[in-house]
Amino acid sequence: MTVAQIATFALSVLISAAFVLGMVIVVGRALRHARNAARARLAAPGRRALLALAAGDDAPDNLDALVQLDPAVWRAVEPTAVALLGKVRGEAHAALVLAFEQRGMGDRALPELRARGAIRRARAAEVLGNLGRADAVPGLVYLLHDTDRDVRTVAARALGRIGDPAATRALLESLAGRHPVPPQTVADAVMRMGADAQPALAAALDHSADLVRATAVEVLGLIGAITVAPRVITALSDDQSPEVRQRAAAALGRLGTRSALAPLLEAVEPGRPPALRATAARALGDLGAVATAPALGALLSDPEHTVAHAAAYSLLRLGNAGRQVLEHAAGPGPAAGPDPTHTAGSAGDRAAGYAREALARFDLDDQRRTGEVGATVAPPPSPVTDGSGPVIGSAPTAVGGR
């Protein structure tokens, strides 16, 4: 080919490609703007009714207005409605769920659990979870072993939202196997089941898979299953998996039973894995038993940083006895002001370093409690938590919980 031909060819390819891409961008943008504007316009009347319903208005007209909306208008409003579902609770939530159900969303979603496309299955699971449909539980349990990871995750989440404790065992089982569900999703879902999940969780402590036992013991601690404490203690002492033992230690701290003292004191002894020792030291702080102060004090000079650090902060939570131990270890006087020590140096120096750090933290917390603008004078949060997560406020007005 001649130069001119090549040049023309190349140039024409370039220009036409640029033109095509330009068109794609321009047209795409115009279409998107038009679509958004149309959707906003359509949604306007529906949005008002939706907000009125979500505002907890008891007037039945709102519900009817929403239910009788044109399908096109409803489609435009639906994303907002679904989003609102996660943001409100109480009567507002119930009213929204009713609106969804009366529009048939739940009934349409149920068979979709077996749809061909993974996204469709996942979306259906999400909707059914939001609506709290108890009859979807068997279908969702089946999806826990779906080949698509997102479908499995959404199904687990939906089971948590619905809150039927009968699904607990299936959820825990889904942790192991060829197509596992992320452990955090399972744990969150099981936690939402509350106390009714306890039997299944206790049974899972004997499961063959490490991850199942570890998750079960962790959740038991988080939901405050005090009656199962003996089983957790056994897990701490006898389980083969270090991960399970570590989580058992943390769980015992959360459960707060006195029977956990001796096993935890044993778990902090040298020779155990450092992670376990540090967790056990922290758990002793959670328990807040003054009798453990000497043992924790001995740990201040431990060569393992995480263990000594945990021991120091745990001593802070043992009241005066703990502080006395810290002051003793910190040595005579604050010396020439605070100075960051490194973990090299003699055992006594190291212990002093950790002790000083913890004491300084205590002083700081004290200052903050009394020195802040408008702070209510409230006692510090008690170390034995109820384990269910959200707040037990230390202030007069109750806080809106779950």
């Binding site: 090549i6 989440r157 955090q184 999703t185 090299a344």
Partner: protein, 478 residues
Amino acid sequence: MAALGWLRDALHLTDVAILTYFLLINTSYLVLIGLAVIEFVHHARRAPLSGFDETYRSPLTQPVSVLVPAYNEEAGIVESVHAMMALRYPVFEVVIIDDGSTDATFDRLAAEFDLVEVPRVIPRDAPTTGEVLSVHVPRLRPEPLVVVRKVNGGKTDALNTGINLARHPLVCMVDADSILDPQALLSVAKPFADDPLRVVAAGGVVRIANGCTVVAGRIVDTRMPRGWLPRVQVIEYLRAFLLGRTGWSRLGGLLIISGAFGIFRRDLLIELGGLDHHTIGEDAELVVRMHRHLRRSRRDYRIVFVAEPVSWSEAPSSMRVLGRQRRRWHRGITEILTKHRTAIGNPRYGRIGLVSLPYYLVFELLAPFVELAAVLLVPLGLLAGSIDYAFAVRFLFVAYGYALLINLIALTVEEYSFHRYSRWSDLAAAVAAAVLENVGYRQLTACWRIHGAWSALVGSRSVWGEMTRTGFKGGSPS
């Protein structure tokens, strides 16, 4: 005469080789863009199902220590810290490491947050050289902020110190001048929650902040910058970082995570011995070392690239600063590839050894050399009669026209997936910048990059350069 003929043939072969090189590199970009598109579509369809709210509310979400090395950042440090404290994440701490700043960086922080010195025992998990002078926390505010003052030791040393001080199992390294998306931590920490046994590191998309309206540390409006230099860089970032890295991630061969924002497991960082003091591209070197270490120990692992914008950086708007940056980057690549040369082409390292590293060697390290060779040898070949005009035209098209096409495709993909540049004037500026990149900019950066590679080979002292900061108050001037 025979010698001249031989020379002419050699020139011809070289020119053909150069043409082939450009053909290959541009086609590789096309492939990466194609993969990125697939990834974006996949991600967009599944995004509504990701359950970020649950991760945010869950008591099991792992806490993160955000490490921010700072050297003479007085202009924007306070706003930066405020913005970081307002990140949407359940439990995290922000650790500012003042690496011996000579300006008012620390003073401004101390004044703003009423810092008080506290004693702190610091483990020596990662090796550091600069001694820690003091550790500070806010006196009255219970917010999780820690400011460390240390003797100057460079960015790597600052980060290693931060790793030592970090209290949480996940560590996120952020540049002090980065503007973070409020959801950034949630986005990059989520892979760890979804696949805790395998995910060891994650990174996200880094975009250019120049020209964008920044209000109190948050991007409020995305615009193309005003200067041409940053404009061209926006295109570059789109192609190489947004699309290129997404494509590599989809391929499973993501070699590096941006140093401006990366999150890692702390225990693994300690296992690796922290960052390397002797490499200038310490963030990239860390990830390459991570790959090798994990593959050698035959561990099943994943390094995830999150296809969402997490961090915005100020791009250099002057030639001097840009030159320094490119020299530093290329010097980093050279040092890394030299240090890890035994892994290149080594099947023991799987896709990283067989695909990613060789690609980086041929199409990243050598690229500026070929670029300049083209500028010199093609006209020379024409003069000498080794190649004819037909070849020259073909060459122009393959080297520059094709590249321009790639840029335009990248712009189109951005438009469809993120559509952040909403104004038509921005789009026009972007197209113009796409053209400009090939007409002068590439050749310029090639010179700087060659200089950087040369510095690495010669082994001159590394310098963590300073960028003149104007700080982010309202629209950032460019």
